[in-house]
Symmetry: C2
Subunit: 423 residues, 2 copies
């Protein structure tokens, strides 16, 4: 038995192979959830698994599991993985990197004939992106018992497809995957993913040790004033909702993020009614995307938004309505898992920092049912959800090595590298 080691060129080849499934001319992938491309990717992974003697399972929402047995398969598995579905014009690494790196870990363990006490499983969660069928993180949400899949029975996709039909077709396409119940006990969950942000690259770090997922709140602000003629209405007679909205956004942009490095406030969408060049608008609506890893701070930011909007509305004689369009509480990962990963990165001499994830991940829901952590690797310019998404081969290697080191450390409660006990 040898020390298990990642074979970087094998992982690189796997990434290439999967990048062909749903490939777009611009070098990305269109491999949306429960599509023929998704089914093709699942088939390929299942066949690679069976070639190594791993067992393949799926549950009722088509989450795909690949098991490498341990001494005692009745023990709850350690689960590693991510998702395989993509955005319509997605990159080849978002989800695929984590899933295929996890499979490479299984292969490395198998190459080294390392025996573990319980099973190690790779997972490809169904419909993480939510672009074809909303909502996203669907498979992990259902696994964690946070949603009942029955509610999605009549769901139609962005392309008009029937969710039920596509789910049935996806399950049927992999008859060799034995069916298992939805939601099974785990000993832990580790997910590797690209950062989808610019900070690791800009700070020259190899690894992000992710401590949790920010809470997210989407607000819709509607400011109503009085429509009027842009030419004939002098200033004292105006109740201009655009002036009020600008006042609101200006204050919020100047105060929220500058005073708190963990906060995010973004105006992504705005519209005026009637929207004529020569009309003082009757109303303005704009969106606010608020994020913070602390639920208390998120509440405080929302309170600040409401107070500022009310005040600026009053200044212009406008009324303000704020509705909540989306609310996802922060998720906190397990301190023990975080420490294990950080220590593993140290042993591999990979410069790292602790950080919060700005984007949702399946790990957010897994954290509710098992000790969970995530590993980030840098992606070029932080670009994701974009066909130009790119990860350096060195980062691919670093991430997979750390995932293997961390998997073994969690499986054994001991370090693999530098003098740790071998089982």
């Amino acid at each position: 038995m040898t020390s298990p080691a990642i074979r970087a060129e094998r992982l690189q080849q796997r990434l290439e192979a999967f990048a062909h499934i749903g490939a777009t001319p611009a070098g990305g992938v269109n491999r949306q959830a429960l599509s023929p491309e998704d089914r093709e990717a699942r088939r390929l992974l299942a066949e690679l698994a069976q070639a190594r003697g791993f067992q393949v399972f799926q549950d009722a929402i088509a989450n795909l599991f690949i098991r490498r047995s341990g001494r005692d398969d009745s023990l709850p598995p350690l689960l590693i993985g991510s998702h395989l579905d993509s955005q319509p014009t997605g990159g080849r690494f978002d989800g695929a990197l984590g899933t295929l790196s996890a499979f490479e870990v299984l292969e490395a363990l198998e190459d080294a004939k390392l025996e573990t006490s319980g099973p190690i499983e790779v997972v490809a969660w169904t419909n993480e992106e939510g672009s074809r069928f909303a909502p996203g993180v669907m498979g992990s949400m259902a696994f964690a018992g946070a949603a009942d899949p029955a509610q999605w029975q009549s769901l139609a996709g962005s392309d008009g497809a029937s969710f039920s039909d596509e789910l049935a077709a996806t399950l049927a396409a992999l008859p060799e995957a034995a069916l298992r119940p939805l939601g099974t006990p785990l000993s832990g969950y580790i997910e590797l993913h690209i950062e989808q942000g610019p900070s690791l690259e800009k700070e020259g770090l190899a690894i992000g040790v992710v401590t949790g997922v920010q809470g997210t709140r989407w607000l819709k602000v509607t400011v109503t004033g009085e429509a009027g003629h842009a030419g004939t209405t002098p200033l004292p007679y105006r109740r201009d909702p655009m002036v009020a909205a600008v006042g609101m956004m200006h204050q919020l942009q100047a105060s929220v993020m500058p005073s708190d490095a963990d906060a995010r406030l973004t105006v992504g969408r705005i519209a005026t009614i009637p929207g004529s060049v020569n009309a003082i608008p009757k109303a303005v609506t704009f969106s606010l995307d608020l994020r913070h890893p602390s639920a208390i701070r998120l509440d405080a930011i929302e309170g600040e938004v409401r107070a500022i909007c009310r005040a600026e509305g009053e200044k212009q004689g406008c009324s303000v309505e704020i509705s909540m369009a989306f609310d996802m509480p922060p998720g906190v990962f397990a301190p023990g898992m975080i420490d294990t990963i950080e220590a593993a990165a140290g042993r591999l001499s990979l410069p790292s920092k602790k950080m919060v994830s700005g984007a949702f991940h399946d790990a957010l829901f897994l954290a509710r049912v098992a000790p969970t952590a995530m590993i980030f690797v840098p992606c070029r310019d932080g670009i994701s959800h974009n066909e130009a998404e790119y990860v350096e081969p060195a980062s691919i290697r670093d991430g997979a090595r750390l995932l293997l080191e961390a998997t073994v450390a969690v499986a054994y409660g001991a370090a693999m590298t530098s003098g740790g006990e071998r089982p």
Copy 2:
């Protein structure tokens, strides 16, 4: 021969009759240019004219003229009138008040058998609104030689209709209107119109003596930054065009109108790309409607806009592009005509003020070819381009009386009321 006098109830009835043509359920009119409703209104006016023995003419762009002969019809006529076409959900007074008040003036002169040296003509200009076929003030623009109608030959309407076909149909529908050349000499032009703004009503004045039309400039500002994920991108790594745009609008809203009571600056339309709630925009575009009666000040305001936009763009690392979408220089009316109208208002004990028009009118182009002035009357809450548009009967009466007094004063160079010479 008696002193000519407006018959207010007759004018009120005419307004009612025309309000039925293209009437909307909400009490307004949909009588767009060169439509069947427009043709019906022209027919009705032509018949009323012929019933009084007035002659009816039209030119190649379907401007409609009604002549009451003077002693010498070779003299250039004094022209009074406005337009009959409306917005899709327009009010019953915008344009119709001025045209029908002018016709009431002709009827009052005819009732009194008052002989004038040259002819007095009423005009209904084609397509003032520009809502169906752009641009607006089309008939007066062509009359004044400011545009060649040939350029509109292939024009299609907002409803897909062919401008050429509709123009031909409109001309053909009034065979009794003799054709005259496009653009004929005038001795003067007076237009009565609703203010379409709130100031006369709020200041308790009966009449606005209009000294000119503001210059108008429409700019399109495009701010380009860097798209990004709203959750993962920290503030130092953002080049957010929405922040830049808000900075621009905030400064402009705070400085331009507050420092100059004659200036108007309005943001009527704004959009983000891609326009997702969770995306820092790649770009933001917004419109600026700028107005000022002074061309020099309009240039200075545009300069201020460009400087502020450039500076705010730089602060956020964004590029800025500003294009001119529309540019109408200010129009100045004839001092002699203005004085005549002001004096006439005084003789009728109508409280008035001099003021600039915030909206375009046919008078803007007439001012290029003849001594021109306008009379404003208040409309309720300043509302126009709206089915709720309303003018008090007292204001209708005041406007028509003043139009008659001013017409006679211009035609004779003398006052009609209070001891002026009778011809």
